[in-house]
């Protein structure tokens, strides 16, 4: 079984700083990391390979430095990595990104065939979760989002079953191969990389493709040009004035805060029930 995992290198949003003058992100302030959700997708692909055999390839679109994110995937256990990197991809929103990835998947399909595509739930820099389903739509294969479990992959009969997390619990869905799955973090624990993987990863050089390496690309659908959405303005989230501090000893504080809460007395007596 050939499993393809789409991954992204992202700035660590925990550390990133906003330039207060320009209201833009100071990317140099944050280290670039493998999108944490994608690590779960790679882990799941490696787990499935252990059961069903085959190969795990990771695919990413990004600047040349994104090779490091691919190396991280090799550490987790991916066999191969492909980076599509070209200035003409730059400025892509999710629609244009899904087009570029789709073109790369088509190329991979021609030589290797692809049985299953995995993506992380979303990337922590964009938080949209739209790229994976977009790739699926373009390939004409079923997108299965919010996946928390993969079971019963039947490579012969080209079927699989997954559990899909929904608000009220989960759905069990039967689908066909190839399908595209976006996985939640609950699906697995990303394990520590074994030493041989780390050694391999350190020296690993992914294949790098540019636009001309892909077939039948409509340049108008790439990058900024192919992106219907643009960012209008950016501003720092409203800084609150800060809390009104309730003073006194704990007994005073309790009395004072109870007064505030009891303005909503009805809420507290009714809560816990559906309205």
């Amino acid at each position: 079984m050939h499993i393809l995992v789409c991954i992204k290198q992202v700035p660590d949003t925990k550390i990133i700083k906003v330039n207060p003058k320009t209201n833009t992100l100071d990317r140099s302030s944050a280290p670039a990391i493998l999108n944490p959700y994608d690590a779960h997708a790679v882990e799941e692909a490696v787990r499935l390979r252990k059961i069903y055999g085959g190969k795990v390839t990771v695919l990413s679109m990004g600047p040349p430095q994104a090779r490091n994110a691919i190396r991280k995937c090799v550490e987790i256990g991916a066999d191969e990595g492909i980076l599509i990197s070209d200035r003409r991809f730059a400025g892509a929103d999710t629609l244009a990104t899904s087009y570029a990835l789709f073109k790369a998947v088509e190329k991979i399909q021609k030589t290797d065939g692809v049985d299953l595509i995995l993506c992380g739930k979303h990337a922590i820099d964009g938080d949209t979760g739209q790229t994976g389903p977009g790739v699926a739509r373009r390939l004409g294969i079923p997108p299965l989002t919010c996946v928390i479990r993969v079971e019963d992959v039947d490579v012969e009969n080209r079927t699989l079953k997954v559990h899909r997390k929904v608000e009220e619990g989960y759905e069990v869905i039967a689908s066909t191969l190839p399908s595209l799955l976006t996985v939640e973090k609950e699906i697995n624990e990303v394990s520590w990389a074994p030493l041989p993987n780390m050694i391999r990863a350190a020296r690993y050089e992914p294949s790098v493709w540019n636009v001309d390496d892909l077939d039948d690309v409509d340049i108008k659908q790439l990058g900024l040009k192919g992106s219907p959405t643009i960012v209008g303005k950016m501003w720092p989230p409203e800084k609150s004035k800060g809390a009104k501090m309730i003073s006194g000893d704990p007994a005073d504080q309790t009395v004072a805060v109870m007064k505030i809460f009891m303005k909503e007395q009805e809420l507290f007596t009714k809560a816990g029930r559906k309205n």
Binding site: T13, K14, G232
Partner: protein, 354 residues
Amino acid sequence: MRVNIDDYRGVWVFMEQKEGQLLDVGLELLAAGQDLARKLEVDVCGVLLGDGVKPLTNQIFEAGADKVYVIDDPILKFYRTETYMKAVGDLVRKYKPEIFLYGATSNGKDLASAVATDVLCGLTADTTLMDVNVEKRLFEASRPAFGGNIMATILCKKHRPQMATVRPKVIKRLPPEPGRTGEVVEEVITLKEEDLKTKVLEIVKSSKKAVNLEEADIIVAAGKGVKDAKGFAMVAELAEAMNATLGASRDVVEAGLCGHERQVGQTGATVTPKVYVAVGISGAIQHLVGMQNAELIVAINSDREAPIFQAAHYGIEADAFTVVPMLTEAFRKELSREPAGEETEETEGVTSRG
């Protein structure tokens, strides 16, 4: 699609339903949709798909819709991307709305992503603020970006419809207007079951006890400041006394004091309760993005400098181990003064909210 944008008129809202029950988020979005539609002088329309769902149209009109597009077909009984995308995509191509809103639920996000690629238009995820530039008929969808470090307005100038997903509880629904009606437009779907690739085999509902932080009106959340299981139990008692749902920071979940289903924040639940009490939570940005839209935030922390005090409305600088039991006691007293009845007896609020 890059299109003649003047052909596109009207504001649409996807009315997600499950087992014949409309989800609240669709009704909430009708309020936002109505506001946009009034500014643009067009109709706000619901889009309703399912099996035997026609009776729901009344509720949609009462919640503010002028028109409802319905496709009622057994093939649409359960949500599936392939059927819903086809149905909604066809409606969009035929009736050409200029703005289209979806609830940011598992299925709403899935559908919006698929439709955006199907009709090739722009989509903004997890919008928290919506407005429109009337002159340009340009939808302004704003959302937190980069883990909440910045707010960004996303625009879509040349493609239609302009689509967005919006989290539940971000918008307040309109009070229903009983008897309000509108136009029902019925359409059909042309797919056949045997041509489909996916099938919903089963829907397994988590037991009644499941935590539904997103829907909770009151949340009491514990942070690493409560230290251990004993401290956590102390906060759970406060939650019980307040009829609140119990939440937690990631560090508490990682310490094994409770399950991930209670985690609030970037990698947990995004919540918008009326009251949020943070006990021993420092207020890291990843936690704040999950709860900063709560109506009333009260923070209890022993460190005056903790960032949670920036996000909170009221702060109590105190040792949680002293003040939390006092507060629990106070709530027990206060709420038991209510006429005794099932409401005050109910303790289930700690673990569940419906």
